[in-house]
Amino acid sequence: MAEAARMQVSHEVAVQITKMNKWYGTFHVLRDIDLTVHRGERIVIAGPSGSGKSTLIRCINRLEEHQAGQIIVDGTELTGDLKNIDKVRSEVGMVFQHFNLFPHLTILENLTLAPMWVRKTPKREAEETAMYFLNKVKIPDQAQKYPGQLSGGQQQRVAIARSLCMKPRIMLFDEPTSALDPEMIKEVLDTMIELAEEGMTMLCVTHEMGFARQVANRVIFMDQGQIVEQNEPNEFFNNPQSDRTKLFLSQILGH
């Protein structure tokens, strides 16, 4: 199954990052990042905390601003132009570590809000789409509840469904399972695997190395704001080249 999905990678470029640099004040968080993501690719970004991996994917939908270099998402370059930023954001879905569902809205309203207000989809159509994706993440019966009434795993699946309702062409995952209890990680990963098998372009910051082995077609290892190593998963895990990568892998796979 995973092999079949891997074939779907096209030559079309989804995200093109060239010589991108970012500073927090004087602290150089991202240094000379070069990254090309093809449509249908599933990339897992790993690395120690503070290595800039979250910042990198947050630059792709401009939650963080980069100060030098170029980011082109789906043919649109990210600059200060607000129209371009909103365009990119509506094409790129994002799933956060802490879900960030809107607590004052029901699950259904969480899902229909952006399609109705950004895409101007009629309410009925937006609700049908929402129910379709809620079915897909296997919690259609929770539609009328509020986020606070759901478990962490359910909330994260709702968050994935919320992003999917905007019919994004690229999905970003920022440590989607890090805030979950161990017994809930699997249900979220299953949803993500299903999404990957449908050919969604995904960039995923995660520590779930099993997930990386199973669905990624490229693993990127970052440290100190730089891409240290990237390779296809088998090579990456079995035959790491850099010492930094070897150390990292021994630490996270050690027990």
Binding site: L63, R89, S163
Partner: protein, 435 residues
């Protein structure tokens, strides 16, 4: 190593009720009133104090007189009924001056107008306060201020209509310009359009329309307004206008744009740093020096503006507190979904910030409503001092002291307590975290 007794449970334990001494009224009394000798003694002392206060106030209330023409007559009745030397409350003063307390010196034959305005106020408020009512009623609420203005002050209806039309002009400009030139320019254009309309178009159009269809009520000047009518007008206007203004100020204070941010901070800090009485003084005396000679600017209107500005500054800070409590992730999620600034504020941020701020906002509103009695400072007849002084100026009621205050306090309490209860109802209704 000690022996580890291997253990495994075959049945799970069912839940049981706590022991008898640990539930019900006995547990409550033990925990809250007699948990120690000291607290038991305080409980007894407290109960004795409450009984003492009630016992001393009770006869005065029990000896109430409702029908009398003067304070002297009141006292005669008390002495005759309950024996010489007794003391009693003379509520007849309220009864005799009822209209004065409610309406000030509003012309008697026109009293139906404020009454109707009050009834319509209830209708206009209900769709705002209770979301179950049909949403279309909001349109009536939106038109209500103009209608109430016409009912209370009189004159021609067309002034109200053309003033409301200014808002419609603004909305139209926003709709068309906003689509072409973006939200920021659209808002600027809308404000400009509305102001131009009010300055140059509204008055001639109103006059022309009044000539064609005269819808006219007797004009009642502001100095005839007084009592609770005045308190209600200033209080309701203050509440109605200061909330949106406070929201904008709080957003402005968090803005990235230095000019907007600085002006909001300056406004808020200045208004909060100055007593309300100073602002009212400015409104009534100083403005007259600055405005061009011959400008008539209604005193009540000036007071309303000042009260609104005053409470808007407080509301802004209360809401800023609510905004600060919203996790950054909410803003990020709204951004990541492609919502623009205004949509994110309106749909995601403000509903949550306002919900958190409800107790604070209602606190400001209650304070504002009670502060409306300060209009005495600029010579308007507030229900507490102004009207009571007017009542005491009458020889028949000279010397009456407690009754007017208790009456005014009761009315204020009813409305303030109502607001307080409503805020608790709203908090409960909007509670979605189910923790």
């Amino acid at each position: 190593m000690a022996d580890t007794d291997a253990f495994f449970r075959t049945e799970m334990l069912p839940p049981k009720e706590p022991p008898l001494s640990q539930r019900g009224v006995w547990k409550w009394m033990h925990e809250n009133m007699f948990s120690s000798i000291g607290s038991g003694a305080l409980t007894v002392l407290g109960i004795l104090f409450v009984l003492y206060v009630l016992a001393s106030a009770f006869p005065w209330f029990a000896h109430s007189v409702w029908h009398a023409d003067s304070l002297r007559q009141c006292r005669d009745i008390v002495h005759k009924t309950w024996g010489p030397g007794t003391d009693g409350a003379c509520w007849a003063v309220i009864r005799a001056n009822w209209n004065l307390y409610l309406y000030g010196f509003y012309p008697m034959e026109q009293i139906w107008r404020p009454n109707l305005a009050f009834l319509l106020l209830l209708v206009a408020l209900s769709p705002i306060l209770f979301s179950r009512l049909p949403r279309k009623m909001i349109w009536f609420s939106a038109c209500y201020p103009a209608l109430a203005y016409w009912l209370i002050w009189g004159g021609t209806l067309w002034i109200s209509v053309t003033i409301m039309a200014g808002f419609a002009v603004g909305a139209l400009v926003l709709r068309f310009l906003g689509r072409i030139a973006g939200t920021a320019l659209g808002v600027g254009g809308a404000v400009l359009g509305a102001v131009l309309w009010w300055l140059f178009v509204a008055a001639p159009v109103a006059t022309a329309l009044a000539d064609i269809v005269p819808l006219h009520l007797t004009f009642v000047p502001s100095d005839k307004l007084g009592g609770f009518l005045l308190s209600f007008i200033t209080g309701m206007c203050g509440i109605g206008f200061s909330l949106p203004m406070g929201i904008l100020l709080s957003l402005g204070r968090r803005s990235d744009m230095p000019i907007i941010k600085t002006s909001c901070v300056l406004f808020i800090e200045f208004v909060r740093g100055v007593p309300l009485i100073t602002l009212l003084f400015t409104a009534s005396f100083l403005l007259a020096y600055f405005l061009p000679p011959g400008t008539t600017f209604d005193l009540v209107l000036r007071v309303i503006i000042m009260v609104t500005l005053f409470s808007a500054a407080y509301i802004a800070e209360v809401i800023r507190g609510g905004l600060a409590a919203i996790p950054r992730g909410q803003f990020e999620a709204a951004d990541a979904l492609g919502l623009d600034y205004w949509k994110a504020q309106r749909l995601i941020v403000m509903p949550q910030a306002l919900k958190i701020s409800i107790p604070g906002i209602v606190g400001v509103f209650i304070g504002l409503f009670k502060d409306t009695t300060l209009v005495i400072i600029v010579g308007l007849l507030d229900p507490l001092m102004g009207i009571s002084n007017a009542v005491r100026a009458n020889v028949a009621w000279n010397g009456v002291y407690w009754e007017p205050y208790i009456f005014a306090a009761t009315i204020f309490f009813i409305f303030c307590f109502g607001m307080s209860r409503y805020s608790m109802y709203l908090e409960g209704k909007l509670k979605t975290d189910h923790r």
